[in-house]
């Protein structure tokens, strides 16, 4: 839920990166943190397990500065990808304004991607929203892995709603900002 604070002249929006374990959600945020202008980004906050997997969420505030006298902020979150953390994913989705679904293009991950998407649909529905009428983009990540599933196949099985999609290699940074720009604009369009 976007917050428009007329008195302090600020607008805050929440974007969540969702997807299976090791699909590259945190890598997206790390790349954005590393490349965004220092004036536009806050600190990257990460709550990891001992094995460096996301335990609760990662959090990166982005600040567009003043636009027409209003300070516009996007707060980026990731969810923990591991199956057993579903409740935590629901908690992080609370009040979300837009979702990036990050897909691992490795062939052995197709089934997990599918299950994660179904779970996302269910969780968004529990928030009283329909993913089809909600700022939502898909990122085909890990396009650089050997034997990556063709985009046309991923699109057929995972993009029934025909939402915007982006090929990416979050490790190299390919497609990361294109994804970010599109979800930010989609959120603004719904404000």
């Amino acid at each position: 839920m976007a917050l428009i604070n007329v008195a302090s002249r600020e607008i805050h929006c929440k974007i969540v990166y969702y997807g299976t374990g090791f699909c590259g959600k945190t890598t997206n945020l790390q790349y954005i943190y590393g490349r965004a202008p220092t004036t536009a980004r806050g600190d990257l906050l990460t709550i990891n397990t001992e094995s460096e997997r996301t335990l609760f969420f990662d959090f990166l505030p982005l600040d567009l500065g003043a636009v027409h006298g209003f300070r516009v902020r996007f707060h980026l979150y990731t969810v923990p990808g591991q199956v057993l953390y579903e409740r935590t994913r629901v908690a992080v989705l609370n009040g979300v304004d837009g979702v990036v679904f990050v897909v691992d293009s490795s062939p052995e991950k197709l089934d997990e991607n599918f299950a994660s998407l179904i779970e996302l649909e269910t969780n968004v529905r529990h928030l009283g929203k329909d993913l089809g009428e909600f700022p939502f983009v898909i990122q085909w990540n890990k396009r650089d892995v050997p034997g990556a599933v063709p985009v046309s196949t991923l699109d057929r099985y995972l993009n029934r709603r025909r939402v915007p999609t982006f090929e990416a290699s979050a490790v190299r940074g390919d497609g990361v900002f294109a994804t970010l720009r599109t979800i930010c604009k989609a959120v603004m369009a719904r404000l």
């Binding site: 839920m1 976007a2 917050l3 428009i4 604070n5 007329v6 008195a7 302090s8 607008i11 805050h12 929440k14 954005i32 490349r35 965004a36 202008p37 536009a40 806050g42 600190d43 906050l45 609760f56 969420f57 959090f59 505030p61 567009l64 500065g65 636009v67 027409h68 209003f70 516009v72 707060h75 979150y77 409740r87 935590t88 629901v90 908690a91 992080v92 609370n94 009040g95 979300v96 928030l127 009283g128 929203k129 940074g173 990361v176 900002f177 970010l180 720009r181 930010c184 604009k185 603004m188 369009a189 719904r190 404000l191």
Partner: protein
């Protein structure tokens, strides 16, 4: 329950919120009092902390609160509407306001937790009334801010800042 698309807090209502938070801070001798949206966004604050710290604090406290509600469900409880996080020097008491906002009181060992609980409850009642008014006034106030030119300027800024 359907979540709102957006929530617009007017100058007048922010003044009302500031008065409630200020009085609570004074009466409890708390070091900080915050009002958060449950999505983790900071709405108003009283006390001295750097802005950047507060943004992270808001995200973490809202996450912890949301997580605790799921713990309640697993235990078969209807809800946890308050959380107390107790430290050696400082403690935090968080209360839910009308399923939408969180009132957070940060206080040290000079303050008795019972006082914080009672006065937080009073503040929550007042803030619930503010929240109801804010919910009712949303659409009109939003249109005054978010128009075509504004959206277009934000899009240009996004293109300018978020480049490879």
């Amino acid at each position: 329950m359907e979540q709102l698309t957006n929530l617009v807090v007017s100058e007048g209502e922010l003044g009302n919120i500031a008065r409630v938070l200020g009085r609570l801070m004074l009466d409890t001798r708390a070091s900080h009092v915050l009002l958060l949206d449950k999505s983790g966004q900071l709405i108003a604050t009283q006390g001295q902390v750097g802005q950047r710290d507060l943004i992270a604090l808001g995200a973490l406290l809202a996450g912890a609160f949301s997580s605790s509600r799921h713990v309640a469900q697993i235990l078969g409880e209807t809800d946890f509407r308050h959380i107390l996080q107790q430290g050696v020097q400082e403690s935090i008491y968080t209360s839910l306001i009308g399923e939408q906002w969180l009132l957070v009181v940060v206080f040290d060992k000079q303050t008795h937790v019972g006082l914080v609980k009672v006065l937080s409850r009073k503040a929550v009642e007042e803030l619930e009334r503010v929240l109801e008014r804010v919910r009712g006034a949303g659409a009109q106030a939003r249109e005054a801010v978010v128009n075509v030119q504004f959206r277009s300027s934000v899009e240009n800024t996004i293109d300018l800042l978020f480049q490879d």
